[in-house]
Symmetry: C2
Subunit: 350 residues, 2 copies
Amino acid sequence: MLDGLIVSIDAMGGDDAPEIVIEGIEYFLKHEGKGRRARFLLHGDQPRLDKLLKKNPLTRERSEVCHSPTEIAMDEKPSQALRKGKGTSMWNAILAVKEGRANTVLSAGNTGALMAMSMLQLRRMHGIQRPALAANWPRPEGISVVLDVGANVEATASQLAEFAVLGDAFYRALFKKEHPSIGLLNVGTEDQKGHAVIKAAHERLAESDIGLNYKGYVEGNDISFGNTDVVVTDGFTGNVALKTAEGTAKLIGKFFNEALQGNPWSKFTTMLNSVALIKLKKRIDPRGVNGGVFLGLNGIVIKSHGGTDKVGYSNALNVAIGLAGSNFLEEIEREVERLHDEDDNIGFIE
Amino acid sequence: MLDGLIVSIDAMGGDDAPEIVIEGIEYFLKHEGKGRRARFLLHGDQPRLDKLLKKNPLTRERSEVCHSPTEIAMDEKPSQALRKGKGTSMWNAILAVKEGRANTVLSAGNTGALMAMSMLQLRRMHGIQRPALAANWPRPEGISVVLDVGANVEATASQLAEFAVLGDAFYRALFKKEHPSIGLLNVGTEDQKGHAVIKAAHERLAESDIGLNYKGYVEGNDISFGNTDVVVTDGFTGNVALKTAEGTAKLIGKFFNEALQGNPWSKFTTMLNSVALIKLKKRIDPRGVNGGVFLGLNGIVIKSHGGTDKVGYSNALNVAIGLAGSNFLEEIEREVERLHDEDDNIGFIE
């Protein structure tokens, strides 16, 4: 066997799995992953995977197929998925992390099922009340991380404070920035804005002394156009914000295409202008920030968009390997302990 | 005096008031408002307004200046604004509607202050628990309306059901569509998704028989890229969604400009391509949908963006006059009564 980090892959998860998954790994090994010594455990239908590996030699060289007879459908409810559970490619992919046979797990499958199975197998980290789903978000200079974008539909003030710790450790691990700035998503930046839960979380974070670079409230427009690294919110608001941004980008993309294809003259000049357009497309390409991460579990679980292509899948792999090579699980554990020690000292109960 | 609808204008509200306000009215009268018989009560500093009117003859012809010695600052808290209250241009502009001297009021001033003063003077409509702020939103075909985008930070199921009625009447009045489709914003479209309040509102709307065209849950991406006319949500989520969309549009705009200005060659072809680009800019122009509306009060209160220009202000005027010429206040009153009669019949208490 080769050495290096081991990524456990749910090869059957995703709209176009397992084809996109294997092509995504191959793409990764040709580009971002060139020279990196990652290896892959491919969980899924052995005959189909073997056939695909013949066409993807770099992947074949660094992979081991682990046959899983069944799989979770994209539209299955988490409760159904859990009943099906064992023997599915998703279950087995997570199990490999639980049993220490892999450093991280990546799936482009059903989000709710991945969440439920990961919770059940990997369990919450000590001191974490609720895990959170974190998403990367492009902004003019760099990337911001928003959490929770949908692991839970509600959050208490104490849980929001934990999300700040999770986001902080995540940002440091992935972007190697020492003191990422942290904001709390609200409807305004003045102290009196927002509802009771937000205000309580704000007060808690503002008086914390555990080393978080907390900057106070931020608003929706700050996610894409601000300078805050980590944006903390509940899973309902975060999910709506994420999908609203996707819808807006899609709408503008549509208008853009229509405008540029509107008449023969603009068609012609668009062709001439293709260098600039390709550059633009690359910058607003959602595949570039593909890879949500479940934070707060005893293990690193990465979720790729179900409808992604090989480039997007490769980006999610990059996130997975970046995190697996860091010590951010230990950092989270340490920071959360400090947060809760502080809770005890200041008498913060919720 | 001329006949026609009368718009009461807070001429001192807005980042560049009163200049933009007067220029906005002039622009309106030259374009959209050409041939319409609207008149204006201009509340604000008489000497400044008189001076501006000299340069804007169409506006002068159709306006009456009502001197207001003071004004509300853009960053004043609603509580401060209320204390200052009487005598400000904003207060007097609303008062004209209350006293029946105008059909609608338009302000580009402080949103919180406008809301608080409107509530105090115009009062909630009978049967409405909380007013809502509605925003127009572009989508591929037409416009969707989202409410609440920030009048309240929380909403009960019963209030969300009222928002559906408000949005329905608003959409019909503004866009002349008989049965606008209505969706409830959630983190997924399956029945089991969301928190308790959303589920209760969903059940209430789904079993209603008062004639709403309720379609069930929608997600964030459906606001910009779906086909639902009215999207109902609480003011916290709606506000974050609105501002997130603005931030996303701004980010893409920035990337777009940078990409097209990146090298001399693309600069040149961009010049050639300007027809298409102007067309695009017009379609994603936020000024085209300027004009939030406070729904649920005994009067029509329109809020323009504080930082808008004359074109945006003119669009807000268009919304104000469109609504003032409809009977939507009566329709809301009738529909809300039917909703609450139904509440009683089915024993919906909250």
